[in-house]
Symmetry: C2
Subunit: 477 residues, 2 copies
């Protein structure tokens, strides 16, 4: 007996990530290193995740102090913790049922935290109003996206629902779209233009989808992952016009909004651009904007706290969304608290401000430097080219693999850039991920790595890459 024959083809066809191959390899190498096997490196640098703490970035002291005090309130009895930490923890516990972070919360999150998230959004968007009723806190933004997709994608219709998504795009979103039974309609970002999102390409992609599927939504991620692009206001206006004309729902993944490094580059939210375009657009375009405590300088991926803000949705749809969220009880309370801390960090004059400010600025400076160094090194290596990384958490350079390397990869039954990543891992102890996982133009190859690392980690990574790469190119020339 097996349920296999019953399984929905949506689930059956889910792409198996090649990552697991690299993960297995890494595990083995680490085990060998532990056993004292000699290798040209002492440890594996893992920059395959968008995970700052994994890559050596330290958590923010203020954040961890408040969370610890919420968990173990006896800590507030001593004066070892700054008074604003104790006050914040006290206030937050007062909002938890039974005064405990161990209680369930309302489905959209603790009302007071939802309110404060909405205040943050209003402030961020220069006064464009945000209604707490339109905000849902979730265990990470990706999870909220799945719920919204669940509403948008109707598995019963034929031809099936389609969702426009960029190439390249991080894999979890693509998996989530497929999981709902929707077709992914790929639109290509223009690498030669710094991974720009060009509206002509959206038209082309939509045209191709005609008859194949029934498009309902456009997914954009800004700042980009893996692209590193920060969209211009003009490009965002074009996107908004496009979704309005084509009657598409706009899914705006804005989890990297705090990660902007480019000079003269600024993050502006889709909600703000939409509001500034005025009626009828500002009153009709349906938008979901996602944000998270995992990204940015906090980097608290493990707490699982994100949120979605919904704009211009039909009240009947909002009811469905409530039902969907309520079937999973609530987001982790400590993730919710992390959002309170992210949206309301210490202010000048608060006892925790000096240390908070110093830690944040140090991370900011390190990442800016990392980005600069990474681009310089990559663009100096023959066979590499890297577009400017204006935001996000990743570099996504193109690697021009020699035909012999491509051939060798095919013989070994793997994608050429996976082959490159495996060599880089084996020979230099650097774990990156292959462009293949994110989608890329036929015949082009890339690698992705996290640039939110400790400075020494980035220096060592670039040193290893610089040694490895010319050797690889020579081996297959």
């Amino acid at each position: 007996m097996s349920v296999m024959q019953e399984i929905s083809s949506n689930v059956k066809n889910m792409k198996q990530l090649e990552y697991s191959l690299l993960a297995k390899w890494t595990k083995q190498i680490k085990e060998e290193l532990r056993q004292g096997v000699k290798k040209p490196y002492k440890d594996v640098i893992d920059v395959s995740w968008g995970d700052p703490h994994r890559a050596g970035v330290k958590p923010l002291t203020f954040v961890r102090q408040v969370l610890a005090a919420c968990l173990y309130p006896q800590l507030m009895d001593s004066d070892k913790l700054p008074v604003d930490v104790r006050q914040r923890a006290q206030r937050l516990l007062g909002k938890c049922a039974g005064g405990s972070v161990g209680s369930y919360t309302e489905t959209p999150g603790i009302p007071n935290i939802v309110q404060r998230v909405s205040e943050f959004i209003t402030r961020r968007d220069g006064g464009v109003p945000s209604n707490p009723k339109n905000i849902y806190i979730s265990p990470g933004s990706q999870w909220a996206l799945v719920n919204i997709l669940n509403v948008l994608v109707n598995p019963e219709v034929s031809p099936r629902t389609g969702v426009l998504a960029p190439v390249p795009c991080h894999a979890t979103t693509i998996l989530s779209i497929m999981r709902q039974g929707a077709a992914v309609i790929p639109y290509y970002l223009s690498e030669e233009h710094g991974w720009a999102l060009q509206v002509e390409e959206l038209h082309r992609a939509l045209e191709l989808a005609k008859g194949v599927c029934s498009p309902v939504a456009l997914y954009v991620i800004n700042p980009g992952n893996p692209s590193g692009l920060v969209q211009s206001k003009k490009s965002m206006q074009d996107v908004i016009q496009f979704v309005s004309e084509k009657r598409l729902f706009l899914l705006a993944d804005e989890v990297y909004q705090d990660c902007v490094f480019g000079e003269n580059t600024k993050f502006v939210s889709y909600k703000r651009v939409l509001a500034e375009m005025g009626p009828p657009l500002s009153e009709t375009v349906e938008l979901a904007s996602f944000h998270s405590a995992s990204k940015g300088f906090m980097g608290e991926c493990g707490l699982r706290g994100g949120y979605v803000e919904l704009v211009n949705l039909d009240p009947a749809v909002m009811k469905c969304i409530y039902s969907l969220f309520s079937s999973d009880t609530c987001a982790p309370v400590l993730g919710q608290i992390a959002l309170d801390l992210m949206t309301h960090p210490p202010q000048q004059g608060d006892p925790s401000y000096p240390l908070y400010h110093q830690e944040r600025e140090q991370i900011r400076a390190t990442v800016s430097q990392n980005v600069k160094k990474a681009c310089e090194v990559l663009n100096s290596l023959p066979g590499f080219s890297c577009q400017p990384v204006e935001g996000g958490a990743f570099a996504f350079p193109r690697v021009y693999l020699p035909p012999k390397a491509v051939q060798k990869a095919k013989e070994e039954g793997m994608q050429p850039d996976t082959f490159y990543c495996i060599r880089l891992l084996e020979e230099a102890g650097v774990l990156t991920s292959p462009g293949y996982e994110y989608g890329q133009k036929e015949g082009t190859y890339h690698i992705r790595f996290c640039i939110m690392t400790h400075q020494e980690v980035m220096d060592e990574l670039l040193r290893r890459l610089s040694n490895f790469h010319p050797k690889f190119m020579k081996d297959f020339s």
Copy 2:
């Protein structure tokens, strides 16, 4: 423009919980109390959730100390925390990438914690082996259930997939089944027999489903919610025989396994009973068993940590399950750590043991007393009858509403037991939930309330109920 017309009927038809009506009412009453409006009570007792901390149960000190130390490792520098707390925190941080609970983990959870969960299962089941590869940690057990349902329910087949579920049953599971597009096939627990699960009833239910849907799974919850039943071994064997004959997947929700109060009542897992039945059953019946850090004496609902163990699944199905779990990254790290602490509590001789033991035994004694008192009081009130509560977190007494009350409820457009709950809330400040939400035999009415409360909370609750109920019965006689 609206996506409403596109929404899948599964989502559109999701039952809107009547709870929200009671929740709104509660909010208003609390606000009035805050403003000094005179009422016959000073506060609202909220026992509508299965949420011990909300109902005044204190968190376990050991658990909170380890979690706080993991978040803010500086706490380990002082000797204020017991040495076994510091050692545990140190050990757990050593298993986190970058030594931080802020990092993502592997999809099924931190390997070492998964390993320890599997050791706990083996110990619990008297040596029946458990393979860590079959365990997935998730943000709460409900969430794992949704993923497993996602694999079992094929939205493309006609007639649609069916899942057998008990009446009464807690509402989130029913919502989850509907959310996947499956039909719920109700089977009735026998109230007159202490809510026993009778195999004849399973046959009846399945027979009725013929031609209507295509049954693939049976969901059981043991100990029961809201029923309070702890299944006998004989009943479990019958269930296993039944699913084997009918080629159904067995979904065993065992989140209340630590909450058993009946004398001579013992929890035995479905996995153990299955193993003891021997081949061919033990090698063929497909089983998913769920557990959680939210329930039991820990009661850490807000951390969102649960797991599922899968037995006898086809490797191809296991691959699909991996893909599904991986599209949501990972469970909250602190929820994962809570599972480590739940499955490996302090042992005799450990510095934390005396306090841990004392706290746990106090909760256990309180809950046992609560159950005893509640059943006594309920069964002494004319118009109430309560089956023995052997386990779980709830009492689910039947209330015999007078015809005039039923009539009045209908006039007000609500379910009779919702009407009763609203009156109880308004007049006595006690928030329970109506039997209607869980399903019940036509013409019978129930209320559900949490029995995992502080002792004083239960005493006050029963006092208020005893005053309110005769008055209500008289008003509608």
